[in-house]
Symmetry: C2
């Protein structure tokens, strides 16, 4: 069946990467998911040839089509768009994970995936729902990092914990028991860093499922931005390994 | 002279805080700069009385005016707006600073100020220019933290360094000499953490003005997001003090 390329909606079975950089990441990491790549006639930089070669090598169709580009482009127009089939991944066992409970901000979600990649963490569990992880805004904020991350959805943290039994779970909470900057040495078990929703944080019951951690901050702010907290935790946990 | 309240432009001598939370921060921290506070007739939560009391106590004029609110509101409408005279601060000596060279993203700028406040750093030097620090978008991203931060502009880092002679300067660079996670103990001197523009980073010559630092990350990303890098650095430097 022919896919019709319209402005993205959550219930679509496909999504888009906007811009040359994320689209190149898409083709490199998930070539089997690409439906088609569109480029504008004005995309004539050096990158054009690289893109053509990459598409040819990965058996991906490249179409020069200004109409589709201008119809799909977000406000800031872009010269390259990748259309791809949505997918879900299976998380790897015995490697570190990040888990996010109902993340609501697409920018944060993308930034966290980019930071995970920076610290060598490739597996992301989404607990309970939240923002549409394959929304083009998330892809953009991740700068294409999303295509190198394995992500999977779980209804509850208990459901997640039943599968990843070897993981030590670290829920990050404003009243966590352990201070991140002063943590005792960890075991060799893989870790899962768990963060709550931007506005509501994690429920009390998360304290029962692991060792709760606090990133101490002054009383002058209510909390750190979610992506900042995740960045600091990823830095500290991967440093100590 | 009567100030006319129109949609914000960079050359205005006044700016706006959108939303109750940042406006309350404005009134508490910079009452002498407030021109007027506007509230919508639909702002009838508990907060309304708190806002009225706060305005009275600080001798700030509060006006219920739906027209002004709907004219000034950004896309997501808000119920409270503070109009204030723009200002510049003087940085304090002998306390830790952050310096940003030409920051271009308003969201990052606001998030960095909020994170600074979280780690007890109150002084921000802007080197060379960059985004308009009092743009309402920055204020919003800072969640009002900007009103508790001292910020000041400098043409060059050399001009800055001539004034703050007791500071140890730490430019953050992708090829920095020292690794953040493995730094030798520091002296008791106040520090300045310096970060470059989102796209271009810091010039080579920054290596001469201080001890360059790298936050090591995998080769899978080009660089960490600016606000993430600043958050990690603030966490690590204030932890070690």
């Amino acid at each position: 069946m022919q896919t019709v390329f319209k402005s993205y909606k959550k219930d679509f079975e496909h999504s888009y990467s906007f811009g040359a950089f994320p689209t190149i990441e898409l083709i490199k990491s998930k070539p089997e998911k690409v439906i088609k790549v569109f480029a504008s006639t004005s995309y004539r930089e050096e990158g054009r040839e690289e893109l053509e070669n990459l598409c040819r090598k990965n058996n991906v169709e490249l179409e020069i089509n200004d109409k589709v580009i201008s119809r799909l482009s977000p406000k800031e127009s872009c010269l390259v768009i990748g259309a791809f089939k949505k997918y879900e991944c299976e998380l790897q066992k015995n490697v570190p994970h990040v888990a996010l409970q109902n993340p609501s901000n697409m920018g944060n979600l993308g930034t966290i995936m980019r930071t995970m990649l920076g610290f060598g963490v490739h597996d992301l569990a989404i607990i309970g729902g939240g923002a549409d992880i394959l929304d083009p805004k998330v892809i953009r904020a991740s700068m294409g990092a999303i295509f190198r991350i394995r992500f999977s959805h779980f209804d509850t943290i208990e459901q997640y914990a039943e599968i990843f039994t070897s993981h030590e779970l670290y829920p990050f909470m404003l009243d966590g028991e352990l201070s991140l900057s002063d943590m005792p040495p960890r075991s060799d078990k893989p870790f899962t860093l768990i963060f709550g929703n931007e506005a509501t944080g994690l429920d009390e019951h998360y304290k029962q499922i692991g060792k709760s951690v606090v990133i101490k901050h002054s009383g002058e702010i209510d909390s750190l931005n979610l992506s900042i907290a995740a960045g600091i935790a990823l830095y500290e946990f991967t440093k100590k390994r």
